[in-house]
Amino acid sequence: MIALAASALLGLYVLVPVYLFERAAQSFIRLKRHQRTRIEEFGAGILVSGIPFVATCLLFWNRQNAWADYKIVVNGLYSERYFDAHTDAFWNSLKAVFHHQEWFFLWNYLFLITEIAIVVLCVRQFGRLNQYAIFKNTVGKFLLKRVSEWEPLLTPFVFPPSEKRRVEVDVMVIDGKLYRGTVQEHFLGKDGELSGLLLKDASRFQYSKLEADREAKKHKDLPEYWKKIPGSNLYVSFEKIVTLNLRYELPDDDLFERVREKLRQLGIRAKLTIERPRRTRSEE
């Protein structure tokens, strides 16, 4: 009986909080799914469920009268002889323990929700907060140990969210084709390995056309050889990827401001325009 009660408590105060924490965190960040030993898993679980549990214990610490009820219930569950001798006291204490547990459970989960909210905030604002040494050397270090290595590479995770950067990628695939686009989403396998990339506004570089033009001694700017791929999304399987060239680009207006400011610092008074590389029309 005591094993059953211990299992229920383990589930309620360790397993469910860890599960909820992982689910909540996963919606905002990809966590590492490999390279973690059982001891590390255990440590992470204890830390996640331990913080709200300890906070709740501290909150309920001065309610000494509850300890006597817990003692009677544990003794009754452990020993049948004790239960037979103290049946009435056992049931009264069990009722008090249930009542106490209702509040304990409620507060534990309130602290858990607070913990999740703080972690989600730290994750979402990682790029901004990581500029401060105190965050970088404490929470930042801890977060980076838990996060999948693809997250900083394929999302603007390390940059302040207010910068609204997009991840631009040039992908060379095994047949020598080169694709370019904005990373919309990346997909991970069960062991945390990259399985594919979803690109939007994708273009393909026309090598054959470039070679033909070179043979014919025609000169065109390289951006002319990018051909827009019809459809809004292009999926590239990681098995076919040879290289990835990643850039974390600012919105044009912000880039414009940064360059203008730099020109001002250099003492150059000039007008500035940004001309995005022209892309040829979509393939029929």
């Binding site: 900083p152 590479l153 730099k262 250099l266 325009t273």
Partner: protein
Amino acid sequence: MTVDLERLADALKRDTPEKIIEQELEAKKQEIAQALREGREYVLDSQALIIKNAS
């Protein structure tokens, strides 16, 4: 494969496109000023940023 994500994060933040442009602007400061003095516009090739005479 173990990746040191702290170093990776620092490296990604160090070499952003705008920082590369800023370095390019500094390196080509004289060239840009010369082009503008001669009334020409200057195109920062890789980024298609066109710097024109203010007047």
